[in-house]
Amino acid sequence: MSEMRRELEDSARKVFPDWQAAQDAKASWAQMAELGWFMAGVPEALGGLGLERRDLAVIFTEMGRARMPGPALAQFLALEALVQAPDFPGREDLMESAMAGEAITASLTIAGEDLTAVPDADTADRILVRSTDEVTLINLAGAKITPFPTWDGSRRLFTVAPAPDVPRIPLAAGSEAAALTERLDGLLCLGLAGDALGGADAVLAMAIEYLGTRRQFDRPLAMFQALKHRAADLKVALETATALYEASSEAAPLALGAMKAHCCEVYKQVAEEAVQFHGGIGLTVEYPVHLFLKRAFLNRALGGSAAFWNESAGDAVLELAAVE
């Protein structure tokens, strides 16, 4: 891991040492802004830190570990869209305020799905809307904003129907829009995958710690080989997915989507087992393990389903063989 990435990780863990540290959405938003996260992916020429995608990948993992509330992932999408868009009057101001933490939201579904799963749409001023035809920033004044409450309570999601006649800032159109949209979907998948791996790592550690302290039949649960082997399998799945994640930050959108599907499946699998490892106590709201389970499921459903991405990936494999 590079110096830069280790620094990002260290500073994140100092501010958000565990999932509890980030639960105040407003405070953690300010902390993220202070850590410079919203500047991270913006080129230095545009006033940002000019970090690469694999540096952002570290941030995404830390957000998952902290079970970060708020619309940060949407913010990264909006910033990326602004960075990629050709210059236009007011772009610099917009970018500056977004880097400082003024929220621009966006749907956490992939382009082509509904404008749903939009975090904090009720407090954001603008929303990034992307399709293969155009990418625009739309003012949310007068929009119809319907709550989309999920079992995961860490993200406040909404369904949005913008008002027809509000100001729109076009960022891309035509083939440029298609390319930008693909790029943004890829970033979304990278973000969700990182979130999944950070969360999985946190909840696996939580479960293993629990097994080490909880005793049954005069020994810690962690001494039972059947549980040890299942924990080991989860660790293998997690490490394997993490290696893929680290190697994929610059990958093509399709590969990022398939990678997201893989990582989110691992998160779900780890969280599902973590609840079982906790036994009855894991079924009570007093223990945090369920919070990760619910986020794991939500992550899996955001950014395109596994069915969609795996089918696309399978199509690509088919092309390896000459068609008769």
Partner: protein
């Protein structure tokens, strides 16, 4: 199937068509759910279907296991409300009273059960889940009373219970199991407090019971002091496999939920989805057949050690797979929070169903405990040593 069986089936089917509530899924509060449970139980008592497993002298009692099976099959098939609130009363309390209690205790409590008095079970404790011998709640005899302090957990619907089947420790010496004593505790006694457990899917099906110097008359003891372990075995053996059969049938009946989910997702022509659906349906059929066969073995007195564990494990894993497929099919829409349907394990509110399924992989002997039983007592693989010398690393 005999002609009598057939007649019973027709009789109960007709009765259900007339009497069964159809709106039980609409209860939006625990209180409304409990009220609907009470009224449904009263109806079943009146019709003679509530306690078919009790002796003949009770209304509707004296039914064979085969007849009991028919009753539960029909109740499941018609999607009537599950009998949650009265379960401990009619099975656990009944068996304990019938097999181990004094004549006086029996004649006092059994009629009240049919009148709607409900019981809860006070066995599990924090730190003593699957390992009952580790119970620590302490009862000290002072004259005519036991003074009991301690904590019980995972007691089903204890917040609505009138009475409690309480297992406590009267002696800390000797073998752990020999120090346990069994008491019938009135939940209204001073020193008893109950706190519902907030579950992750929004239910409060279980509660904790805190006991602070509760004075329980010695006359409320079942069996001798120190004989609690044996009485507890009678309590636990009271359910003879009907529940898992009933639940398996309900799961099969609810395959329509999965079918609806496929339609709703617009994936009726998706070969991959159809295959998962078909394989799962077959697995559900298999679990139903397994539960049937288990009951048949019990009727034939042909049961082997471990058979019950196999049924429980087969059901719990299949239920998980059932809910898992639902969550997957519902995709993002399935992530939207919706209030739960009390008492329904196969509601089609997929995330709630998924989380509910842990009740069956964890409670009543976790999947892990069942696997131990199957491996050791059925497959003859060696037990874990009970005492081991732990070394300080290599």
């Amino acid at each position: 199937m005999t002609q009598e069986d057939d007649a019973l089936r027709r009789e109960i089917r007709d009765w259900i068509a007339r009497e069964a509530p159809r709106d039980w899924r609409t209860a939006s509060t625990h209180e409304a759910f409990v009220a609907s449970q009470r009224s449904w139980f009263a109806k079943l008592v009146a019709a003679g279907y509530a306690v078919p497993h009790w002796p003949r002298e009770w209304p509707g009692g004296g039914r064979s296991l085969a007849e009991q099976k028919i009753i539960y099959e029909e109740l499941a098939r018609a999607d009537t409300p599950r009998l949650l609130l009265s379960f401990v009363s009619t099975y656990h309390a009944f068996a304990t009273l019938a097999e181990c209690a004094s004549a006086q205790q029996r004649s006092h409590y059994l009629p009240r059960i049919l009148e709607g008095e409900t019981w809860c079970q006070g066995f599990s404790e924090p730190g003593a889940g699957s390992d009952l011998a580790a119970i620590r709640s302490r009862a000290e005899r002072r004259g005519d009373v036991y003074v009991v302090s301690g904590q019980k957990v995972w007691s089903t619907m204890a917040q609505y219970a009138d009475m409690c089947l309480l297992l406590v420790r009267t002696s800390a010496d000797g073998p752990k199991q020999a120090g346990l004593t069994y008491l019938l505790m009135d939940m209204r006694l001073p020193g008893v407090s109950v706190r519902p457990i907030h579950q992750i899917q929004g239910d409060e099906e279980f509660a904790e019971i805190f006991l602070d110097e509760v004075e329980i008359p010695v006359a409320q003891r079942v069996g001798e002091e120190g004989a609690g372990w044996a009485v507890a075995q009678a309590t636990l053996a009271s359910e003879r496999g009907l529940t898992l059969m009933e639940l398996s049938y309900r799961m099969r009946g609810a395959m329509v939920r999965l079918s609806e989910a496929v339609h709703a997702a617009g994936r009726t022509c998706d070969a991959g989805v159809l295959r998962k659906l078909g394989a799962l349906a077959t697995r559900v059929d298999a679990v139903c057949a397994l539960a049937d066969r288990f009951l048949q073995k019990r009727m034939d007195e042909d049961e082997r050690v471990g058979d019950a564990s196999i049924v429980k494990l087969a059901y719990s894993r299949c239920l998980r797979a059932w809910t898992d497929l639902g969550v997957e099919l519902a995709d993002l829409a399935g992530q939207m929070h919706a209030p739960i349907t009390f008492g329904d394990l196969n509601s089609g509110n997929w995330m709630a169903d998924f989380m509910n399924s842990y009740a069956w992989t964890i409670a009543g002997g976790s999947d892990e405990v069942q696997r131990n039983i199957i491996a050791e007592r059925m497959l003859g693989m060696p037990r874990e040593p009970k005492n081991w010398i732990t070394e300080a690393g290599q």
